[in-house]
């Protein structure tokens, strides 16, 4: 029995999805007989199955709907909005009932008299007169349904038979079933499809692995079958992918209903046009974009399209127009949602942005209209004056964008105030297999989704591009903008052990320019190795907390690699939008002002904490031979400019090698040296430093997100003088 019910639910669910859509279409084209028989068929099937299983409430609803639809078929009843509303009401009730049925396995107790009488009312006297008697027998049939299945089945069929004598719908029914033809389809469990996908993915990986081996070996006998295998696997992969594909129309089926509800509630006139319903995309992707799409269409109908009166005033047709369009483009799916409504009200957005403290008036004045429009993607941002039952709760575009970004998609918009606006969503065809850029940092490899990469830039010596810092944030001048950078190695804490902080040496490296949450940024990596098709697998449960990895995969060479998530990286790196959105013109003064700030020489000595010294006190840097260090009065000294210069060090480490680095400080004409392990960089620090101190440490500051000890060279001077005094 359970199997029968779940089969019934699956069927009913599919039917209901069709119904919503078909009813709204039917309202617009009342003469469409094909549509009518489709609607009729769905109710009929539901009624039939209910009779068979013994679901009383569902059966009665479907039966009554079928009855009044039959009147329409006989041209005894005209289609009115009320008629459609009544039927939609029945559809909604059937949905609610079947949801409960799915949960509990039983029809809930209760009465559907409200819906039934609504249907009676719209059918009017025609219904009472024509089918009064046959419906009566339907009621008897309902009463009998607590009998055996056979009995109730017979009861239903007798009711249907009764009905057919009155209305003769059988012929129509026959022709409509013939119309659909015998399509060779099979219901397959989604889990089975998923596991097929996994297995095929493994096969693809194994094939890649074999191909890679084949490239390096010259075994002819082995090459030919491998080529064939290669081809077969590709074909197999393609067909398995196809089994997961569904037309986007499935996600759109609820849209006409939504638009209709908005129209009814707000007294608007909207025409919804859908193009490219047949465009296919992965099931999983479809599920993910369903809600965002619904939200956007609702927004367009509620906020975008004006009232008929307003539209007349601005010289537009009374009926607004919303267009949903989907098509393939280069391995992606483009979905456009456009309306000819009022567009985004710039002044209002500015006002809200000010009110919410997202920007100051000064900042707003500098922003371009496009940048101001971007505010609608901020969390909690809503320009709706009032909260309607359909939208305007401020849970909006940010959620939409986040959801779309989760599947590696992007949302863009264009809006002309008064003319309307268009959202363009770009999403990958499938989530299962993606192209990824394999990047390397400090010997470790990571995959980066190729869809997120906008360009690759080489930086460092001899490339004409270099990495600079603004307020301690590394940036790069890319054309006319400053691109904030993230050192991947720093962030992941995977520096090369041999050359720690190697990124300060100006060596050639790569910047992967990407964009997340609308913010462009660059990822500094050591190498860009390859582009590979990868099968994304979720990370294990206890790696889930490392959120910057969206998954992992096995590469062609058999090694496991982690996949980076650009938006999580951005969040983790805590790039602020104000920095990210600066244009070069705004930043010039930043670069200039920092020049006046403290310049620090960074070095490594003693413990792990990075050390720094004020650059103005450093006279020069020297690499010395450790054997040149002499002792004077038991203290180490070095000959420098014909004089003996005292030397200090944190520990013995620098003396172990043959050569050592020496920072030479100068104060009041006196020189002294500090032995260090390594000189790293010169950095700008624009916080204030303690001017002087009696201690060895001048201050401890945060530089490049690390606490850094600033040494006090004067302390060494005084200690040197004290030592000399002895």
């Amino acid at each position: 029995m359970d199997d029968i019910i779940s089969e019934f639910l699956a069927e009913t669910h599919e039917g209901l999805v069709e119904l919503d859509n078909a009813l709204v279409l039917f309202e617009r084209n009342p003469g469409d007989d094909e549509l009518l028989s489709k609607i009729f068929r769905v109710f009929h099937t539901i009624k039939g199955s209910c009779g068979f299983i013994g679901l009383e409430r569902l059966g009665t609803l479907a039966h009554r709907a079928e009855d009044i639809l039959d009147l329409v078929r006989e041209r005894k009843l005209a289609i009115t909005p009320d008629f459609i509303t009544a039927l939609l009401g029945a559809v909604d009730r059937i949905k609610t009932l079947s949801t409960t049925l799915e949960k509990t396995g039983q029809e809930p107790q209760g009465s559907d008299e409200d819906i039934l009488s609504l249907m009676n009312d719209v059918a009017g006297p025609a219904y009472q007169k024509e089918t009064g008697s046959s419906f009566g027998s339907g009621e008897t049939a309902d009463a009998e349904t607590d009998g055996t299945v056979d009995e109730s089945d017979r009861a239903w069929s007798s009711a249907a038979g009764d009905f057919s004598t009155a209305a003769k719908p059988e012929e129509g029914r026959k022709s409509s079933t013939e119309g659909t033809g015998t399509q060779q389809t099979l219901r397959v469990n989604v889990d089975l499809l998923e596991s097929m996908m996994t297995v095929v993915s493994e096969l693809v990986l194994t094939r890649n692995q074999l191909l890679q081996t084949a490239r390096t070996t010259k075994n002819i006998a082995f090459n030919t079958p491998l080529q064939r295998l290669n081809q077969v696997v590709s074909e197999l992969q393609e067909s398995v992918m196809k089994t997961r594909m569904q037309p986007i129309g499935n996600a759109w089926s609820t849209m006409p209903r939504i638009v209709r509800d908005v129209c009814n509630e707000l007294g608007k006139k909207i025409d919804l046009e859908m193009r490219g319903q047949d465009t296919e995309l992965d099931r999983q992707v479809l599920e993910m974009i369903k809600d965002p799409l619904m939200h956007m269409v609702r927004n367009a109908a509620d906020h975008g399209i004006e009232d008929p009166a307003d539209r007349r005033k601005s010289g537009k047709a009374e009926t607004g127009h919303i267009l949903l369009n989907a098509y393939h483009q280069g391995g992606h799916i483009i979905i456009q949602i456009s309306d000819d409504g009022r567009g985004l009200p710039l002044q209002k957005i500015k006002g809200k942005a000010l009110q919410a403290g997202l920007a100051t008036q000064e900042q707003l004045n500098k922003l371009s209209p496009q940048q101001i429009q971007q505010f609608i993607f901020r969390p909690g941002f809503s320009t709706a004056d009032r909260v309607t039952s359909v939208s305007g709760r401020g849970v909006g575009m940010d959620v939409v964008r986040t959801n779309i970004q989760k599947i590696g998609g992007t949302v863009e918009m264009t809006s002309t105030e008064g003319k309307g606006m268009t959202f363009t969503i770009n999403i990958p065809l499938t989530l299962a297999i993606v192209s990824a850029l394999i990047i390397e940092v400090a010997g470790a490899r990571f995959a980066f989704p190729q869809l997120a990469v906008s360009e690759l830039v080489m930086v460092g010596k001899g490339t004409g591009m270099e990495i600079e810092t603004v307020n301690g944030t590394p940036v790069m001048r890319l054309r006319e903008t400053l691109l904030p950078l993230i050192y991947l190695g720093d962030y992941l804490k995977v520096w090369d052990k041999r050359k720690e902080h190697a990124h300060h040496d100006g060596d050639m490296r790569y910047v992967v320019v990407t964009r997340a949450a609308g913010i462009p940024f660059g990822l500094v990596v050591d190498h860009v190795l390859d582009m590979e098709e990868i099968v994304v697998k979720p990370t294990a449960q206890n790696l889930k907390e490392v959120r910057i990895f969206s998954g992992n995969t096995i590469l062609g060479d058999g090694s496991v690699i982690m996949i980076l998530d650009p938006s999580e990286l951005l969040q983790a790196a805590n790039l602020r939008e104000d920095i990210a959105h600066h244009h070069l013109a705004d930043d010039k003064h930043l670069l200039e002002t920092t020049a006046e700030e403290n310049l620090l020489l960074l070095f490594k000595a003693g413990d792990k904490t990075p050390k720094a010294a004020p650059l103005k006190m450093v006279s020069r840097l020297r690499e010395i031979r450790t054997m040149d260090i002499e002792l004077s009065n038991g203290r180490p000294v070095l000959q420098h400019l014909g004089r003996l210069m005292p030397i200090f060090s944190y520990d013995e480490a620098p003396l172990r090698g043959e050569n050592a680095f020496l920072i030479i400080f100068e104060h009041d004409g006196q020189h002294f040296g500090l032995l260090v392990d390594q000189v790293l960089d010169i950095a700008k620090y624009n916080g204030s430093l303690a001017a002087s101190s009696e201690d060895m440490l001048l201050d401890t500051i945060i530089l490049n997100q690390q606490s850094t000890d600033v040494v006090n060279p004067l302390w060494y001077v005084s200690s040197a003088t004290a030592a000399a005094g002895k």
């Binding site: 294990a540 449960q541 206890n542 490392v546 995969t553 690699i561 982690m562």
Partner: protein
Amino acid sequence: MDKVATIDDTQQVLAVYLGAEMFGIPITHVQGVLETLPLTYVPLAPAAVRGVMNLRGRIVTAIDLRTTLSGEDKVLIGGPQANMSIVIEEDGELYSLLVDTVGDVHTLSVAHIEEPPLTMAESLKKVSSGVFALRDKIMVILKPSALLNRDGEE
């Protein structure tokens, strides 16, 4: 999950070693024993996660049993490199417990499995289902699910 199929009230456990310490892993949880494969290091991962590896097309998360069992108490230190992998499955995911060496399979009489001693380190107690006195050694029987859950919480 931790209930182990018993035949005549016995439980079979695989003996594994970390240094000289012996631990038992219920055999029903063990999918395989192999030499540790090349690992891919996962930056920012919990300390006990040594990396991920490819086991015949499936990604296996390698858990350093020494780190997991030591906890903050550092009850187990030193010893040779963990070079054997005990593969276990939990919630459809494969994990590999890295140990130093693998011993025999022991059939233990359930009646003689005792509660962990009160004085046992807290980090160990949390992940063990009992102890068993073999003729020459005491074996701490581990609960694989607890080993993994603990990582998730930290």
